[in-house]
């Protein structure tokens, strides 16, 4: 129950401010010149297709993500190794992660479940996810909550995130090329390097709240 008189019990606002603000906007722009449709003379890409995957690797590394390159056949062994090197005893697994990826990994699998508390997630050592799209020019991976990525919080709370990108299918050159491949009705998380702050004398420090270590595995066949 809400105590706000401007909100009725079903949660619908009923204050007069909506109409007042809209009326004020209409009055404010009544004499304004017409605003034409937007001209989009900017480029669709700044990168030749042939160099896209290399550029992605370079820009990810520039943001202090650790980049690995392998093929489908080498993926399971690489993931086993990365988890072992990190000393992980537990790994969070999204519901639709291809089982073959973690076929050789040692850590105990923790499924991504809605009822897990944030405190429980905080106990997990690593998380492995796929991604929806990766953007070469900006060194960005985008997660859209798909079956191989899971809920937003699983790539946030654990301190170590390994993200698998299938190249070149999931790689685009630029931001304008990424937009049409993403569905805005799903929650999206764009990640460029590990969590970072420059708030103290502009010195960059990794891992304030999000994972301190981001490893990106580019799988090229």
């Amino acid at each position: 129950m809400t105590t706000d008189p401007s909100i009725d019990p079903s949660g619908t606002p009923r204050s007069g401010s909506r109409e007042r603000i809209l009326a004020r906007i209409r009055a404010a722009v009544a004499d304004a010149p017409d605003a034409p449709e937007v001209t989009r003379d900017y480029l669709d890409t700044h990168t030749p297709d042939s160099t896209m995957v290399d550029l992605l690797a370079e820009n990810l590394a520039d943001y202090r993500a650790v980049v690995h390159r392998t093929d489908s056949a080498g993926l399971a062994e690489l993931l086993r190794q990365l988890l072992a090197e990190h000393g992980s005893r537990t790994v969070l697994v999204p519901p639709g992660l291809p089982p073959s990826w973690l076929a050789s990994a040692d850590p105990t699998r923790i499924p991504d479940r809605e009822e897990s508390t944030a405190q429980e997630l905080d106990e997990v050592d690593s998380v492995v996810t796929g991604c929806a799209v990766a953007i070469a020019e900006t060194g960005t991976i985008v997660l859209d909550g798909g079956p191989d990525q899971g809920r937003r919080r699983i790539s946030l709370v654990p301190d170590h995130h390994i993200c698998v990108v299938r190249a070149p299918e999931q790689v685009v050159a630029s931001v304008p090329q990424a937009m049409p491949r993403l569905d805005p009705t799903r929650p999206l998380t764009w990640i460029s390097g590990p969590s970072a702050t420059s708030d103290i004398e502009l010195d960059r420090v990794e891992g304030v709240h999000g994972p301190r270590t981001l490893e990106v595995v580019l799988v090229e066949d």
């Binding site: 404010a28 900017y42 460029s192 999000g210």
Partner: protein, 480 residues
């Protein structure tokens, strides 16, 4: 709690204090120059920067022209996606809506991701008055909040604090707010960040209510967007059961595709990165992922007044990148606090007097807190002609006060402050002569004030000498 801006001295008085604080000045100078140089490099990577800037300007202008239509569209999309939309005409109404929503959850604490809109309306103080503790979770905001201080930069609110000061604040204050600073905390940035991580994680993991702003809202889809670096935003946006976002009505853009422009220009302009570490988008609520309840509070609070001003409305294009602060010779010396508002620097000098009106001394003095050098305009990714708006607002200030009027005195003091700082004016003139027709060949209080006094047009360099000779000393013999 961070202080409010009520009773702020006018710009020149606050600025005068700031320039005497050497630590502050050095910290600021280091920071602004570092970001400035990095930004130029990040921008130079994109051959189509000018076109992106033009598109950004056009998107915002088009949206503002049809703001009613896009807000209504946004409202229906957010509602369809399971959110609830509220409209707040002013700060009091927004604060009351948020406080009531929090109370309805039965909670007495909330976690917040840095939001200029909530700072603008004094939400933390309003919540505190209702017995609700609001924890700022951005590292810099934490520093500011623990230090009982005010933010001094849009992007790096604690830019005025160095590592030693931050360590002292953490050691002394963290325990009062939750988990204490680790024993023997050093002043290395990594250790300080780790202390903040531990202190805040405790709060994130138990938080039931999150409060945010948003960088953009997409009318076509009802999507909200937050850009950040640390992950505190992601924590606040995804862990709590209830999310309340307070967003200025000018933050809407028409289409999903429009974001492709700002996703390229905002990070490069603000942190000089190709992309900020984290960007989150959400559309209403999502099944089993993130908050179950989402409220969007659309805030006017002076924005429709600003929209009604045909010259000044361009300030509403601002995407809060803070690039204009980092190039401003006045900001560099005066610091953010001198502007007496959550919006410091050049954008603050035009936005605050429009949102709040020009009746107070601080707001009347802000349009004069500039050398009109034009560097802010050059750097602005949405091409806001800040000098043009400054001159326009000077006319408004001049029109409302007669000679000797309180606001005119405040305004003239601010102009005097700029003129008294040759470095400020000098830096301005160099850029001005290179870049703009708004060269201060007249007193940098162009427009009505100068016209009414029939100042002869004169070149900028001799003007300072003229000013020194001609201004009347105050009765105490000090400079005005």
């Amino acid at each position: 709690m961070s202080g409010t801006f009520v009773g702020m001295p006018s710009f020149p008085r606050a600025a005068k204090e700031a320039v005497h604080n050497k630590t502050l000045r050095d910290n600021l100078r280091h920071a602004t120059h570092t970001i400035r140089d990095k930004r130029a490099k990040a921008v130079a990577e994109l051959a189509d920067w000018a076109e992106l800037r033009e598109a950004g300007k056009q998107i915002k202008d088009h949206t503002l022209r049809h703001l009613d239509r896009y807000l209504v569209q946004l409202e229906s999309r957010v509602t369809e996606a399971g959110g609830t939309v509220h409209w707040a005409a002013d700060a009091d109404e927004a604060n009351r809506i948020v406080a009531d929503l929090v109370k309805a959850t039965g909670e007495s604490e909330v976690v917040k991701v840095k939001s200029m809109a909530t700072q603008e309306i004094g939400l933390n103080e309003a919540l505190e008055a209702e017995g609700i503790a609001a924890y700022e979770t951005d590292l810099a905001e934490l520093i500011v909040q623990l230090g009982d201080d005010r933010p001094s930069h849009i992007l790096v609110p604690a830019i005025h604090r160095n590592r030693g000061e931050i360590r002292d604040i953490f050691r002394e204050k963290m325990a009062d707010w939750g988990r204490a600073a680790p024993h023997g905390l050093s002043d290395t940035p990594a250790d300080l960040a780790e202390a903040a991580r531990l202190h805040l994680r405790e709060k994130f993991l138990r938080a039931k209510v999150g409060i945010s702003g948003a960088n953009f809202m997409v009318a076509e889809t009802g999507t909200l967007v937050v850009f950040e670096s640390e992950g505190n935003g992601r924590m606040c946006l995804t862990l709590p059961e209830t999310l309340i976002s307070v967003v200025g009505i000018e933050k809407v853009v028409p289409t999903w595709r429009d974001l492709e422009v700002f996703l390229q220009t905002l990070p490069r302009s603000s942190t000089a990165e190709r992309m900020n570490p984290y960007t989150s988008t959400w559309t209403g609520t999502a099944d089993g992922d993130g908050p179950r309840t989402f409220h969007l509070v659309l805030l006017d609070n002076g924005r429709t007044d600003t929209l009604a001003d045909e010259v000044g409305r361009q300030a509403l294009r601002c995407i809060r990148c803070s690039a204009c602060l980092n190039v401003c010779p006045v900001y560099e010396r005066a610091g953010g606090h001198a502007y007496g508002s959550v919006y410091p620097g050049p954008i603050g000098a035009i936005l605050s007097p429009q949102l709040r009106g020009t009746q107070s001394e601080i707001d009347a003095s802000l349009p004069y807190a500039s050398s009109l050098c034009g560097a802010c305009y050059e750097v602005c990714p949405v091409a806001i002609d800040i000098p043009e708006v400054l001159v326009h607002l000077r006319e408004r200030v001049a029109d409302q006060g007669g000679k000797g009027h309180r606001v005119e005195k405040a305004a003239m003091k601010a102009a005097g402050w700029v003129l008294d700082h040759p470095g400020v004016l000098g830096a301005g003139e160099r850029v001005a002569s290179r870049t703009r027709k708004l060269h201060p060949s007249k007193l940098p209080g162009a427009g009505a004030w100068t016209r009414s006094r029939e100042l002869p047009e004169m070149p900028a360099e001799p003007f300072r000498d003229w000013w020194k000779k001609n201004r009347k000393p105050k009765s105490d013999g000090k400079k005005p």
